[in-house]
Symmetry: D2
Subunit: 184 residues, 4 copies
């Protein structure tokens, strides 16, 4: 299992929920802020095609491809995922066409869980366009969009007061553990 953490802050509220969901499970955490991810340069229509990019993306992509359950956690930045996480998705356009990676073969085995935290206006409503965007992304590439949590928090640590979000993360955790036991 892999947690892809999109916040630019350490110990933020979306990360807190991801940790709840993955407590007592052996998983990999990736803080996107610790990686250089260049924006996509769309060369789909260029004669020479995409060219090599000098950044950290391939390490990220390899970690992504190596896991089957991915928890995408992001604060709601301007009513969308963080730019860091957006660049992670945008670069798929290059690497799904890169023969070094079996992108299209691996994707159907994966399940996505998304965690979004926001404050005001109420993210239970204002994060819905982002949830719909995640749906389109995963539907387009044929990856299961298993579930999502929308949490409400402002200051660091506030998420502990959103009992519905916390409880849903704990339900995910129970389900993850049960599935891990049954596949051993």
């Amino acid at each position: 299992m892999l947690a892809l953490l999109g916040s630019s802050r350490k110990e933020g509220n979306s990360e807190h929920l991801a940790k709840k969901a993955l407590a007592d499970i052996d998983y990999t955490s990736i803080y996107l802020r610790d990686y250089q991810i260049n924006p996509i340069l769309d060369k789909r229509h260029d004669a020479e095609g995409f060219t090599s990019v000098n950044d950290d993306y391939e390490r990220l992509l390899e970690a992504f491809l190596a896991h089957d359950i991915i928890v995408f956690a992001t604060p709601l930045y301007w009513f969308g995922m963080s730019g860091q996480m957006k660049n992670f998705f945008d670069r798929w356009s290059q690497y799904m066409r890169d023969s070094r990676y079996n992108f299209k073969g691996e994707i159907p085995k994966k399940s996505a869980y998304t965690i979004v935290t926001g404050n005001s206006p109420d993210p239970k409503i204002s994060a819905l366009p982002l949830i719909q965007q995640f749906h389109y992304i995963f539907d387009y590439i044929g990856m299961e969009f298993a579930d999502y949590i929308i949490g409400q928090a402002n200051q660091p640590g506030d998420i502990a007061n959103d009992s519905f979000a916390i409880q849903k993360a704990e339900l995910w955790n129970q389900k993850f553990k049960k599935n891990l036991n049954s596949t051993r």
Copy 2:
């Protein structure tokens, strides 16, 4: 008037519509791909607050603040705005708190027009979460969201076949010219 072009490609379909909308008008074009825009580092909750960033963002922000009508044009990348444009918005979180800029004073004078182009599935539906996100963004900061165009195109130049999108860009153009004349 300012066109903020979010595509990573030159001469793309969203740019084509922006040029139609602004034909025969004196306006400034900014290609976001030509600027280094770092992702936000959210330090709202840090004691020292935000720190200076060594990139091109302040030049972009100054251009943005100096214009009253802004046309945001972006291809639909993974059912959202491009990562380049997302980082443009994300950094607002820093500069709306920077006393060197009169961000909150200037915003209410501005009007936003957005242009989005996509291909499949039909962007008239699949771009709606992005339109809703733009609404939340502009509503949050108190900037008028005047109108949007969703165009359908795949290959470079295809947008010329989307007669509804082209015609709407021409209607914007007529309206812009009329308003410019009446304010002289």
Copy 3:
């Protein structure tokens, strides 16, 4: 071609746009307010199944099934289609299972065009959930959702001032006429 008019008012703004779109074309108009349409009684899970309903719905359904291009026009009532039109759709659940009608055979031949008019808050944004609902409806039954118009108007007749909506209705009209000529 068939115009299904969902407004409870005659000569309203959504009807005005539908007439623009269908000007100089031979088409059938149905005012849903002139028909008794009972709400669905969901008996999918009852042993005896659905039972005969004493209202005008079967006449409506026959008109719907007899046409290939359907223009659904409704004012935005409480941010959705009118209750009259909603009952029209809800009753599909009964008749798609009624062997007297070839519902599932006819649907894939049809194209849907929808017209929605509202006033405040700006229907270009507040009608988007309804457009998304229409998308889900037509996608579910396999009927093409060709296009939509969102018009802004308050008082009867106001729609004449929404030049974008009027012009889009005129573009539909040109397209309809062209298609009719090419299929003769």
Copy 4:
């Protein structure tokens, strides 16, 4: 507290969640299917205004106005609320202008909780336009939209297998009881 049940079936899945949420609480249940609710006839722009309607709506409205916490429960019919419930809202347009009722005075005291159950495609996504519509409705009239539950179920009784939905209904129930105790 009031449960407004929009399903056309007794003992359905949305009703099941509403009963969970209101277990061991003294509340009023209204089955909309047991009432004659005519569609709205929009006479806002008529000289004589709205006229008296011979149906059961005023009894419903009085029950609605007499309660402060309203649980709206509806199955997802064609990706919206049931036509029965839609007509309930549509008729507000008449009665918010009826001087016999203090509609606009009572509304700000109320809180709305909505329960939606659907089956396929996954209602966690396909019900989001309806959740957005509820948001617009309650926001427009100034009524708190406290929370929503989206449950997945097909056959009657299936909702018992949606552990997240059940658990959220139980959390509502705990909150309702706590609030009732604190206001005594």
